[in-house]
Symmetry: D2
Subunit: 183 residues, 4 copies
Amino acid sequence: MTQTTPFPTAPELMVSEWFNTGAPITLSGLRGKIVVIEAFQMLCPGCVSHGLPQAQQIHDIFPRDQVAVLGLHTVFEHHDAMRPVSLKAFIHEYRLSFPIGVDQAGHSSMPKTMEAYAMRGTPSLIVIDRLGRLRAKHFGRAGDMEVAYQIASLMEFGAAAPQEDGETKETGPKCDEDGCALR
Amino acid sequence: MTQTTPFPTAPELMVSEWFNTGAPITLSGLRGKIVVIEAFQMLCPGCVSHGLPQAQQIHDIFPRDQVAVLGLHTVFEHHDAMRPVSLKAFIHEYRLSFPIGVDQAGHSSMPKTMEAYAMRGTPSLIVIDRLGRLRAKHFGRAGDMEVAYQIASLMEFGAAAPQEDGETKETGPKCDEDGCALR
Amino acid sequence: MTQTTPFPTAPELMVSEWFNTGAPITLSGLRGKIVVIEAFQMLCPGCVSHGLPQAQQIHDIFPRDQVAVLGLHTVFEHHDAMRPVSLKAFIHEYRLSFPIGVDQAGHSSMPKTMEAYAMRGTPSLIVIDRLGRLRAKHFGRAGDMEVAYQIASLMEFGAAAPQEDGETKETGPKCDEDGCALR
Amino acid sequence: MTQTTPFPTAPELMVSEWFNTGAPITLSGLRGKIVVIEAFQMLCPGCVSHGLPQAQQIHDIFPRDQVAVLGLHTVFEHHDAMRPVSLKAFIHEYRLSFPIGVDQAGHSSMPKTMEAYAMRGTPSLIVIDRLGRLRAKHFGRAGDMEVAYQIASLMEFGAAAPQEDGETKETGPKCDEDGCALR
């Protein structure tokens, strides 16, 4: 599905409670940054095994003055099983460090922000550009390299381009599972 | 290790034989593109399990008019075991589709290009910018997302930025290992 | 740590609520079978990523007239976050099909069965022989092959030994990621 | 495919050269032990990623006085690429420690032992019981737990049953990727 150009403005977040942040977060307040939203449910296996680790990696690797990663707990089933008290422990045990909001309950089983974005389920990865426009919406498993390329393509690189040199890893003599070193 | 600025010019490739290309390839001929070189040995476990699959992914995901991926067979041990006849079958069985050159034998056990780049072993991932300058040199396992970010940071994005929208995957009703879909 | 011989009798289960079974289960009622107990917490990452999938595999592969697999929800932290209403949804979403009991709350933060077995945390894998004796207690990650060997070593094999012949998988012509077929 | 009962006698090995053993090995010399044969090609991706690591695990976990693990290099394509000189380096780099034989060249592209067993490709996992009878023949990917159960089902367990107790792993305080420990 290709969206029409020009890109639509991303709907504002409707969040009832935040974790990992001192103050509520709005998309309008993040204008000028790329925003990556990981929409998830804490009992969704695919969110746990790849969606959330991927979001945490984006948070860890991309420069935070240019890319803001947010989690959004979009519960659309088993509501009683995924209350904020459970989510709070989940965030702690899985060591998620980016801000995570609870999507506001709506009139249907689907919460409000999830409905505004017409998401199809969890995990969904949303990418918003510096002008607040919706640029990508993935449902299901998306590859790390593909996602990184998509986000980077919206960044501005200038003199501040990473100097990414250096040796990633020292290994011992000969081959181990990571590589073969000169002796 | 941080390299000195300004970035040094990447040494030219010294290759005795090419696979997956109709004509020999030179770095000078690729000026204007970012060049990613995966230096490997076909019997190096870490090259097989992550270095080469990562290079293949870069080749598959990044636009080829901007990023050129090359393999370089830098044999520095077990020379008799990794002759070009074996490499050719290896490339076929592992379905590698990017151009791969055999690094020229040198005076020591280390081949010439490997020595010119002062590589520490295999796999090594080299990134060269559009001006032919050496920008990154990884030894061992490098993360997909980190590498993708580094390469993308050297690209030029303009009106041609990817429109990366659409749904990555349809899943059936309810949760499977990839995600949870709305019913 | 090697336990003293003769093997001690495994303490009886103390369970407040069962899932995936029509009637409460007791170890004494399972005498004559090998019993494998997977003690877990639904918000413990290692339980989700390997302990529970391993228990499900044992349930799927071993003959059920000889080996009984049980889950035991041994919550010792974040009690409010892992109530039975949340556990029920968790069991559903992760498609666990073996019987799972909720370990009875005790006087400390540790539940009663967990305390009786002196478990050190979750996941813990307990193996009990046909005579009701405690034979193995693993804490943390245990290898699939090692665990399978341990369980099998307690079984009786006779004329009913599996005839495990046949072809595991058809693959297409040539090599794919699973293997290389004759053409 | 279900094989006819009674189980057929496994054909003797026809091997031109051995690695990792001081003397040639025959099935008749191993009578009384269960024999597991991993038939592979060094350039077969599925053999490298799962067949050979699985065989190494069987060698590491099962008692060697009861279970003998053998590798068999059954080259049926790219013969020039997988000569013994290359195999020797492969065995070294992948740290395979069980005996490995080179299947004798035959009249067709298929080597002799491979033909005698009517294997369908690589990796193939063959299981032979203590009486020298062929009991299992897997082609492609076979699960670790399933294979371990099949081998164990052919063993004799008595007073020597493993006492498999003890703690598999110490973890630090709280949860890490392997588990959650009591504080």
